[in-house]
């Protein structure tokens, strides 16, 4: 399957013809609609909010934001002028900006209640020209996003990573920016699998992804943090007998001279007087 990301940078790939094709395709329209609705469900917004749509394109996702109940106001940002032109033709409600998310986001701190991004952030991993560092672009993007969301705000980014390496690169960049991050995978192991990166900005009572999906049907939670914590717990505490035995074993393997184990190894010395 060919990936548009492998062909050209986004501003050139989505030219006039490609943008029109993208927007008029009923298949893409329905997929975009499903993903936007899923993202909204994850955001779980109670009242009308101000939402940032990163990589809004022709406003397929924005349209759903303004039509849902309660209606949200959105600001869209995209790098392709042709896509924005199509959005203007379609008279979308949101305000549009031409901008590159890899250059950071030009918003004041604490502007948005929430942010969504549908099929966009994988473009940040591209290395289109010399001197472009995907890691730097990712960190600029996530730092900017972290800053412009208000406290206890949330962001949901649906994306298509090329492979696991790319997925991990995006996730770790998000975590480094300070987000509580988690991945939600819809239809796993199928051709139609969709990945959602759910980002939360710390705040009182704000739940991370495990809280977000709580009460949703058909969601299995794999918490790697728990595994990491367990692993840490399982590690021997310094100074205990198990720890001393481990160290001795390590030294033995290194070929050092190590005293033989006995029943006295790792025992406390008795009080002298």
């Amino acid at each position: 399957m060919s990936r548009p990301e492998d062909n050209l940078p986004p501003d050139l790939f989505y030219n006039d013809t490609e943008s029109r094709k993208y927007t008029t395709s009923s298949r893409i329209q329905s997929i975009q609609a499903t993903m936007t609705n899923r993202a909204l469900e994850l955001l779980d917004l109670q009242s009308s909010s101000l939402i940032l749509d990163i990589g809004c394109g022709s406003g397929l996702s924005g349209e759903i934001l303004s039509e849902c109940d309660p209606p949200h106001t959105w600001i869209g940002m995209d790098i392709s002028p042709s896509m924005l032109a199509v959005a203007l033709d379609r008279e979308v409600d949101g305000d549009l900006l031409l901008g590159d998310m890899g250059q950071g986001l030009p918003f004041r701190a604490g502007t948005f209640d929430a942010a969504i991004s549908i099929s966009a952030i994988q473009w940040l991993c591209n290395e289109d020209e010399k001197g472009v560092d995907p890691k730097l672009r990712l960190s600029r993007f996530f730092d900017g996003l972290y800053a412009c969301l208000k406290r206890d705000g949330k962001a949901v980014c649906q994306f298509y990573p090329r492979d696991d390496k790319q997925r991990d690169m995006i996730c770790s960049a998000a975590i480094r920016a300070g987000f509580g991050a988690g991945l939600l995978e819809d239809d796993p192991e199928t051709k139609n699998k969709k990945l959602y990166l759910v980002l939360t900005v710390g705040g009182e009572g704000n739940k991370d992804i495990t809280g977000v999906v709580q009460g949703m049907e058909g969601v299995d939670v794999y918490d790697t943090r728990k595994k990491l914590a367990e692993k840490k717990m399982a590690e021997a505490k310094k100074g205990t007998k198990a720890w001393i035995m481990k160290k001795k074993e390590q030294d033995r393997r290194k070929g050092k001279v190590v005293k033989a184990d006995s029943k006295y190894t790792g025992r406390k010395r008795g009080i002298k007087f």
Partner: protein, 140 residues
């Protein structure tokens, strides 16, 4: 470019990040248009605490509006989930103030023109009400 959006935008140039003059961006040669947007009082009261009022007064002055010098205050409005009336009900004076805000923030659009950073002087063009925030790579 709605005035609402303009109130949230600051200069994207790296050296301007810490400069107070980088916000708000100043309008030049602005051509205005008015679009009709459904009135949403809940959203407005939700947004109001986040607005930078002095900046809004400055930019609306540049576009030829006058707003009161101090930020009006409204109670936090909520709409019941069954789509009923907004609570608590506003007095007539507050209602008109909120409607004025709605007209300025949501319905006034800058269609053509420029936004200029007060600190580095970088010009962001606005064309067909879409602002261009692409930076040349040496300014990122």
């Amino acid at each position: 470019m709605k005035l609402l959006t303009a109130n949230f935008l600051s200069c994207a140039v790296k050296s301007c990040k810490s400069s107070p003059a980088a916000f708000p961006l100043h309008f030049r040669d602005a051509e205005l248009a008015s679009t009709s947007v459904p009135y949403n009082p809940v959203l407005l009261t939700n947004l109001l605490p986040r607005l930078d009022w002095p900046a809004l007064v400055t930019s609306s002055k540049e576009l030829g509006f006058t707003l009161p010098d101090s930020k009006p205050t409204f109670p936090a409005l909520t709409r019941p989930s069954d789509g009923g009336e907004v609570t608590p009900a506003l007095g007539e004076e507050q209602e008109t103030a909120l409607r004025t805000l709605h007209r300025v923030l949501m319905e006034t659009e800058v269609v053509e023109g420029k936004m200029v950073c007060g600190s580095c002087g970088f010009e962001y063009g606005i064309h067909q009400s879409v602002a261009n925030f692409l930076l040349p790579s040496h300014l990122v």
